[in-house]
Symmetry: C2
């Protein structure tokens, strides 16, 4: 008897990136070194206070259940952080703790029914696509362009609103482009959404790593239809903690917490205690991370500039470059595949960020700097070899 | 503008148990002691090897991403464990790591579409109800009875199959009744499900704490429609690790892993390394836990026997009693509320386990033994006071 899955079960298919990862692992098993530019897996040490606190809590057996909405000290810490950075009064009731990746699905499920429309400004983080497919939404793909520096333009906002979606996801600072959107554009988008009753998810995961443009958070507007999410993964270089947060209207946060209760009960106590300790020295820590991001970005940009076949927009934030490879004549899958086989360098195919981005690849610059630079040089040399042949 | 949530968003409502917990906290804030018999939060120390390994891994900064399907060493460890206990050959491909609570929703979503029927044998674990409501399923409530020791009878199986459901959830050893079902009944249910293409979730979370009847795992049958889940929470007394596992057909496990990838990416590495270390000394550890469960159960049973107003079935496993309070004249909510207010003892209202169980309360015996026994005495005294008044 064949196995009959549900519509959601059938909608689940593997991501292209994992094919790259598996092949990279096979090459490594032969003893060869692979340059990993495909994953946004920060290698920087997390704050000492964070790690010490988590280790201490785990050693002292804080291994029981806790609140679905999150540990009060951490919710309060996140509220204070946003209050300090936005000037808006926020309390524990405005904060829920949950894995940041799960919060994407939680948001879409709480606000949209199957068949509803959701707008993604592409290129867009792969989980948005996977989650919207999984939930059964119609995705309206509003493309941003390199010509405008991948900025959120008024035209893009107009196109998004004209689709009359049930929800929109906006992501500044952006993965994969590194663009930080301007305050006026974000305020306009959020204001229009609130006026029209469109739900808006503002994914601010990379807020703390904006180095070239001031970051603006939508948490300061206090609009009930706007849910802000962020992740300690990137803020503190602890992606394996799987701990993030949502900030928003108390009624919406209540729904998020109920959803967390139903899906996963709660998150571990010791990781939350660690994150709360980390928040107390956030400024010093992220200043260092930002400096490192800016440095790695500048060095990679210099390498990438050596090939006229590779075009890119200088990022404002984070540790990604979205590289246009159209001049090489290869699509993203073939480019990524051959770069891995021939030059032992792994990158992410552009189609992971939306179907129209299949002439791009993403590189992540957050690995060991030597490795990142050598991988980038190999990417450049590979692109040049393609252009010469052509 | 009022906030309009999706159908799923509207389906989320708070559980009765959390109202009890909140009120208990308020009482504790006045400085009073509350006897907690409401939560299955094991207080026993986890295996030393498990905790040491997790602490060591965290200290050494194993805080990056890992595989969505789980850490290979842990998947292999779970496969070996089931192979040893069932005699069936199993590999890593038959195992996915995910929070056990989330696996309930993952199973229902992968196998059922909104409107499909799912059978629950009640009384049944609250998350089954919450998750099925959330997914939008029609719940067929097949009640088990104290008269048959809450056993899974052939009649109950016939009723379940006659409903022609898309999926069935079975839970042996059972929460809240402590019943361990007989091998013949479980094999018949699983065989009929496979023959008819009905998906079966076998929640075996309490397998390792069966002390009064041999436990039989459905993982040994190798039926593609049967997915077994379990949790390190109860196996190793680390509920805060939020780490569980699914065992089944490789194709189904592949879907579960894709679902995990979409929803939460992966679980932490250090908790998985800890669980893998714990598996290597599982036998010694769970022998101690079983002895403790049997001991606490016997002592509580002796206390409960002092009131003719309280009826219960002796559990075969775990650390719960489902107590029939119909003779007290109160329903579960009023009983639980007054027991908390008047005797500072918290229990779980029976309706948490299904709408027909509102003349029962559940007590958990896994807390500190002194507290559990004093709480049980208070429950007995309260019941007696009600009967005397009546």
């Amino acid at each position: 008897m064949t196995l009959e899955f549900s519509r959601r079960g059938r909608a689940l298919v593997g991501q292209e990136m994992f094919l790259v990862l598996e092949r990279a692992k096979k090459i490594e098993e032969t003893g060869a070194h692979v340059y990993h530019l495909e994953l946004g897996n920060p290698r920087q040490a997390p704050p000492r206070e964070l790690l010490d606190k988590a280790v201490d809590a785990l050693s002292h057996r804080h291994v029981g259940y806790t609140y679905s909405a999150g540990l009060p000290v951490l919710r309060q810490g996140v509220a204070s952080y946003f209050q300090a950075s936005t000037g808006r009064a926020l309390t524990e009731a405005n904060v829920a703790i949950s894995p940041a990746n799960l919060l994407i699905t939680q948001f879409l499920e709480l606000t949209c029914d199957p068949g509803d429309r959701v707008v993604l400004f592409s290129p867009a983080f792969p989980t948005y696509w996977a989650s919207a497919d999984y939930v059964g939404l119609e995705i309206i793909d509003v493309g941003l362009s390199a010509a405008h520096g991948f900025d959120l333009t008024n035209d893009a906002i107009d196109t998004a609103l004209a689709a009359r979606p049930r929800a929109i996801i906006v992501n500044s600072a952006n993965n994969p482009t590194g663009a930080v959107y301007r305050r006026e554009a974000l305020e306009r988008l959020a204001g229009e959404c609130e006026r029209r009753g469109i739900w808006l998810l503002s994914d601010e995961t990379y807020a703390e790593v904006s180095f070239a443009r001031p970051f603006f958070s939508l948490a300061g507007l206090g609009l009930p239809h706007v849910l802000v999410i962020g992740s300690f993964s990137k803020m503190f270089s602890v992606p394996g903690f799987r701990t993030g947060f949502a900030v928003g209207d108390a009624e919406v946060i209540g729904k998020v917490s109920l959803s967390t209760s139903t899906l996963i009960s709660c998150l571990p106590i010791f990781t939350q205690m660690g994150c709360a300790a980390g928040l107390r020295r956030l400024d010093r820590y992220t200043a260092g991370v930002r400096a490192r991001c800016a440095h790695a970005t500048a060095l990679c940009d210099a390498e990438l500039s050596r090939s006229a076949a590779l075009r890119r927009v200088a990022p404002h934030a984070g540790f990604y470059f979205l590289v246009d490879i159209v001049a090489t004549g290869l699509d993203d899958m073939e480019f990524a595949h051959r770069l891995l086989e021939e030059r032992h360098t792994a990158v992410t195919p552009g189609r992971s960020f939306g179907p129209t981005w299949d002439r791009h690849v993403r590189i992540a610059t957050c690995g060991r700097l030597d490795d990142v630079l050598e991988g980038t040089r190999r990417l450049v040399a590979f692109a040049e070899s393609l252009v010469k042949v052509a």
